[in-house]
């Protein structure tokens, strides 16, 4: 069994490290090139076609997108959905993160399991479960009418409110995991120091704990935003036919109307918009890290 070790390569320490490490990234680089960059280039190419038969070359599709107020409102509503989902997950996520930080060590794995639970169920199951919960005769409405809080069932399914609630649950792990990983590394002595210097609990929270957790929060917001804006299955099934959002709009153009150039344009616009938001958030994240270390 030890043969490989005795006769094998020279010990790791003897090899020039840099040269070898560069090669290790090659498979990933090739994978990205063939399965991400090349298709993306193709997509950009198709978006520059003039007709659905893929003839001509020009910015006709982008002009068509920009020229119709409907398209802008679809884009606006989609990005706003992302912002709302981020707001809800952040408002619930931060207190949960604080709770996790203060929880006894043996409870933490159990809490962590509960947090990642939504990731362990299939997206289709999760989505249909939300139909059962939000429906007219669903759990939530039965509870509300049963308690006498409302006379008639409230409309939740196929509304933006229902969609934000469902997305918040589905995307919660993406907010909590980065947040917790940053929060649990915070030095507990800092809080003691803050208390010793006379700061109350709230002041410590807002002046010490939260600023130090910002990098995790920003990373969480970034993931939740990108994921909820593009959550096609949840958006179409929980949002319903009256909510036209970018992913559905793109799907409709591609598979129902066979207008590939316009579908590709919608895809590019969505990509650029999400990238713009992500870049802004990233810049904020860098500034927050500077705040912490600087």
């Amino acid at each position: 069994m030890d043969r490989a070790l005795q006769q094998g390569d020279p010990p790791i320490a003897e090899r020039p490290p840099r040269e070898r490490e560069g090669w290790l990234a090659l498979p990933l680089a090739l994978f990205f090139l063939f399965f991400f960059l090349a298709p993306l280039g193709l997509l950009a190419g198709i978006s520059l076609r003039v007709t659905p038969q893929l003839e001509g070359l020009g910015l006709v599709q982008y002009a068509k997108f920009a020229g119709d107020a409907f398209n802008w409102s679809v884009l606006g509503q989609t990005l706003l959905l992302g912002v709302k989902t981020v707001a809800v997950t952040a408002c619930i996520g931060v207190p949960l993160g604080l709770l996790f930080m203060d929880a006894p060590r043996r409870w933490q794995p159990i809490l962590l399991f509960i947090i990642v639970l939504p990731l362990l169920t299939s997206v289709v199951v999760r989505t249909f479960a939300w139909i059962v919960i939000l429906g007219r005769e669903g759990l939530l409405n039965n509870l509300l009418t049963g308690l006498g809080l409302v006379a008639a069932p409230v409309r939740l399914l196929h509304t933006e409110l229902g969609l934000v609630i469902a997305l918040a649950q589905i995307e919660m792990p993406l907010m909590l995991l980065p947040l917790i990983s940053v929060m649990s590394r915070l030095d507990p002595n800092l809080r003691d120091a803050s208390a010793a210097l006379g700061a109350g609990r709230w002041r410590t929270l807002f002046r010490v704990t939260l600023p130090l957790s910002l990098p995790g929060l920003v990373a969480g917001c970034l993931l939740v935003f990108a994921s909820s804006v593009t959550a096609f299955v949840s958006q179409t099934i929980i949002g319903g036919g009256r909510m036209v959002l970018m992913p559905f709009y793109l799907w409709q153009q591609a598979t129902t109307l066979f207008n590939w150039p316009f579908a590709a344009t919608i895809g590019m616009v969505l990509l650029v918009s999400v990238l713009a938001v992500v870049t802004t958030l990233n810049a904020l994240g860098r500034r927050s890290r500077a705040l912490v270390h600087g």
């Binding site: 139909i131 399914l157 196929h158 036919g241 009256r242």
Partner: protein, 347 residues
């Protein structure tokens, strides 16, 4: 015992085995298989239970049954014309016209299906063959609402908040909205009146779904009590214990035929014909028509009675008297209707 150690050689060997297992089965099974679609839901269930075992028995062909709606099939094949991911198309009349005009379908050779002898001439042409009739009407929940009589009832105040519809993206939606239009002065190619009616009705909307599969789930969940759909869906849901009944609108139900086609450049063309032939056979058509599947037979040896309740349809002659739409006229308008529906229905 020493902990097993992973040597580079073992890792490579393992990787090679894994890689082969992912690549091999396709090549090995290619001799006897066909990739065929079926509409998700009731059709998929029926084909999986009836057609697949029959094809395996008669021709020893394995079927990879892919649940896809018509337009999704056309989109998939269109994206990969030279090496299409399907051997057979299962299409509604609208998408069939699209696929034919787009050159995605092979010329149909009736001589390659011996069971074609059991079909009337009208059921096949140069491009494909009908395999089942569909009857579209109104479905309602008898425990919750009164029996609606016709299309106009969908917008009556007593059904406010209880009606679910789908738009021009679906066959049911398009043909039902055309019939609604006709009642208010529109025609096959003029659906303006339907838009007027929908606009007035929107504050009282029950559900607007994006596809027929979602409609089934929403009906079962009590999210809607009235909708337009086909008899076969009602029959399947009823078989599952759902409170649902089918109504033939007083102006006549809509009838159309679902067709099978051989995909151009299909990898398994012979097996595609074997698949179609099996579907057309007397035994399979009879089994597909029996409840709960309720797929109306096209085979002369399989009468519609007694599987179909006489109040739904008695004979093929009666079926022919139902409303039929010419999709060659509808298709050129459909894109504009879908875009208009997006804009006017949006919250």
């Amino acid at each position: 015992m020493a902990t097993p150690e992973i040597t580079r050689r073992a890792l490579l060997a393992g990787g090679a085995v894994l890689a082969t297992t992912t690549l091999l089965p396709r090549a090995a099974a290619a001799a006897g298989r066909v990739v065929a679609p079926a509409y998700p839901g009731p059709w998929e269930e029926a084909y999986r239970a009836v057609v697949l075992p029959a094809l395996k028995k008669t021709a020893d062909v394995d079927t990879v049954l892919t649940p896809l709606l018509s337009l999704d099939q056309v989109a998939k094949v269109r994206a990969s014309r030279a090496t299409p991911p399907l051997d057979v198309f299962m299409l509604d009349p609208g998408p069939a016209v699209v696929a034919i005009e787009d050159g995605l379908i092979d010329k149909f050779e009736p001589g390659r299906c011996k069971n074609i002898a059991h079909l009337q001439k009208a059921f096949y042409d140069d491009w494909g063959v009908s395999v089942a009739a569909q009857i579209v009407g109104i479905a309602y929940n008898p425990k919750k609402v009164d029996r609606p009589k016709g299309w106009k009832d969908l917008f009556e105040p007593k059904y406010y908040g209880k009606v679910g519809i789908s738009g021009f993206g679906t066959t049911f939606g398009t043909s039902s909205l055309i019939e609604i239009s006709k009642l208010y002065g529109g025609s096959l190619t003029n659906v303006d009146p339907a838009f007027e009616v929908l606009k007035k009705w929107l504050p009282h909307v029950g559900v607007i779904a994006q596809n027929p599969v979602a409609v089934n789930t929403l009906f079962q969940q009590g999210q809607m009590d009235v909708t337009y759909t086909n008899y076969q869906t009602v029959s399947t849901l009823k078989g599952r214990g759902v409170d649902i009944e089918f109504v033939k609108p007083e102006t006549g139900p809509i009838a159309f035929y679902t067709t099978l086609h051989v995909v151009k450049s299909a990898a398994n063309k012979d097996n595609a014909y074997k698949f179609i032939d099996t579907v057309l056979s007397t035994e399979v058509q009879a089994a597909l028509q029996k409840p709960p599947y309720g797929l109306l037979s096209v085979n002369k040896n399989v009468p519609l009675q007694p599987d179909m309740p006489p109040e739904i349809v008695k004979s093929h002659a009666e079926l022919a008297s139902f409303v039929h739409h010419d999709w060659r006229q509808i298709n050129p308008k459909r894109a504009a209707w879908i875009e208009r529906f997006n804009k006017e229905i949006r919250q």
